[in-house]
């Protein structure tokens, strides 16, 4: 019994002493850490892709909490739900972000596009690009060393045997990392419900483009003529689709039918044409 009392005494005294010390210290040394930051960070998908424009998820969380000017919907991979959650936590309203997907604007596979020299060196597009713009005759085309593939934080890209990357629509979050690392500017983000896509990035004149690559957009304007909604313009010898008009007004695209090089194509049912088996086969057959 005596032991028991001693135990209780010791424990209670210990508890009291540390309680007082800690509580006092807590008051004395308190530092304001905004717990919101952690909450926001918890919500983010932690891909650390930087699509938000900050150095990783933590940095964005900090910025969005502390800086009133930082919008809550900057996280692209998180899509709507994350934007909403961040908006709720920070009390900022979150306009929906438009879902998008990476699109390879090049059909210059090994078969279609000529090489101008044999490259020996570091297997990286940006590095190869420093040598006279890379080994392709077409100076706008995909170099095929897969810098985008290696940089996709979500593993959505794979390199195909034909030397062009393939975007897995299931995995691509639309973060846009690949767009920023591609030295040739081949990748562009496409609205997720786009109906047609131009698979070329060449700003060469038609004859030159054709000489360099059999799948090039020649800038001939047939698609423009065939579009009844004026959604296509020819810019620097390249067809450009205005997706605002295209998506809103067109429900039966016909523009691509006449394209002599199939540089403009319908986006097939699985949302995305490039690299699909049929598409590769089509390119080779030409």
């Amino acid at each position: 019994m005596e032991t028991a009392l001693m135990v209780l005494a010791v424990m209670v005294i210990t508890g009291l002493v540390f309680g007082i010390v800690l509580a006092y210290a807590n008051k004395k040394f308190a530092v304001e850490v905004n717990p919101l930051i952690h909450l926001v960070e918890d919500v983010l998908p932690k891909g650390q892709c930087g699509a938000c424009g900050f150095a990783g998820c933590m940095a964005y969380a900090e910025a969005v909490v502390l800086d009133a000017n930082v919008a809550p919907n900057l996280c692209v991979p998180g899509k709507g739900p994350v934007a909403e959650a961040v908006g709720k936590l920070t009390g900022k309203s979150a306009p929906a972000i438009e879902p998008r997907i990476a699109h390879i604007r090049c059909a210059g596979s090994v078969e279609n596009a000529k090489a101008k020299y044999q490259y020996v060196g570091v297997q990286d597009c940006a590095a190869a690009n420093l040598l006279q713009g890379g080994q392709k005759s077409c100076q706008y085309g995909c170099l095929g060393f897969g810098t985008c593939v290696n940089n996709c934080p979500f593993g959505a890209l794979t390199m195909q045997p034909n030397g062009l990357p393939y975007v897995d629509p299931e995995k691509c979050t639309g973060c846009g990392k690949c767009e920023t690392v591609c030295p040739k500017n081949v990748i562009k983000m496409l609205p997720i419900d786009a109906k047609v896509s131009v698979n070329c990035n060449s700003k060469d004149r038609g004859a030159v483009a054709k000489k360099n690559c059999s799948a090039a957009c020649l800038g001939c304007g047939l698609c423009k003529k065939n579009c009844s909604h004026d959604a296509i313009i020819i810019e620097n010898g390249l067809a450009v689709v205005d997706y605002k008009i295209c998506i809103a007004e067109c429900d039966n695209p016909t523009c691509f039918a006449k394209c002599p090089t199939k540089a403009i194509e319908a986006v097939v049912k699985d949302r995305y044409p490039m690299g699909s088996a049929a598409n590769v086969a089509g390119n080779v057959a030409m």
């Binding site: 135990v7 010791v10 308190a30 530092v31």
Partner: protein
């Protein structure tokens, strides 16, 4: 001389991390970066020395006196946790850069095997007050040496082509194993 032997033994021959397996969570958690590891080594040394002193006093003047040795665990852990928390608050307030470097790991010291284990070993081996302090400091320095070495190795491996499955923690363990193998060279050098 006796103290020196004790110290050296705790630092290298019986290194707490590599042969006694104490404090591994922090050892693996923080050893990604040499600078942070160096700081952590110092922090552990400091915390361990302070808590060993307090623990020795409490044990010998309270617990032993009243025959309450079965309370050792509870009292020690509370003592250490509170000391660390106090330390954390002080550092956070006054040296924020240091705080940022260790981040959440400072809290991990509070509940870290080596920090509790050394005071426990001290009382278990009936060390005198002075010996306890030397032992604790030796253990802390040993921890520091191990974690800094580990961090430098891991910084080098960061650039290596490590198999994917092993990258990170797996290879860190294998490295620790090799570090321990190398430290076997010191074995038999000092026996207590």
């Amino acid at each position: 001389m006796e103290y020196l032997t004790l110290f050296i033994s705790a630092v290298i021959v019986n290194n707490f991390v590599l042969t006694r397996f104490l404090g591994l969570c922090v050892f693996f958690g923080v050893s990604k970066n040499v600078n942070a590891s160096f700081g952590m080594g110092m922090a552990v040394t400091a915390v361990m020395t302070i808590s060993s002193i307090l623990a020795w006093l409490v044990y010998n003047f309270v617990l032993l006196k009243f025959n309450l040795t079965f309370l050792t665990t509870v009292v020690f852990v509370l003592l250490i946790a509170s000391t660390v928390q106090l330390l954390e608050m002080v550092i956070k307030k006054h040296v924020p850069t240091l705080y940022n470097m260790w981040g959440i790991y400072l809290m991990l010291i509070a509940v870290n095997c080596v920090v509790l284990g050394v005071p426990l070993l001290n009382v278990e081996s009936n060390f005198t007050f002075a010996k306890s302090i030397v032992h604790a400091m030796g253990a802390g320095v040993g921890f520091g040496v191990a974690i800094v070495l580990m961090a430098s190795l891991r910084e080098k491996l960061r650039l290596a082509d490590v198999p994917k499955a092993l990258d990170g923690l797996g290879v860190a363990f294998i490295l620790a194993g090799m570090l321990a193998l190398s430290f076997l060279g010191f074995s038999g050098m000092i026996s207590l």
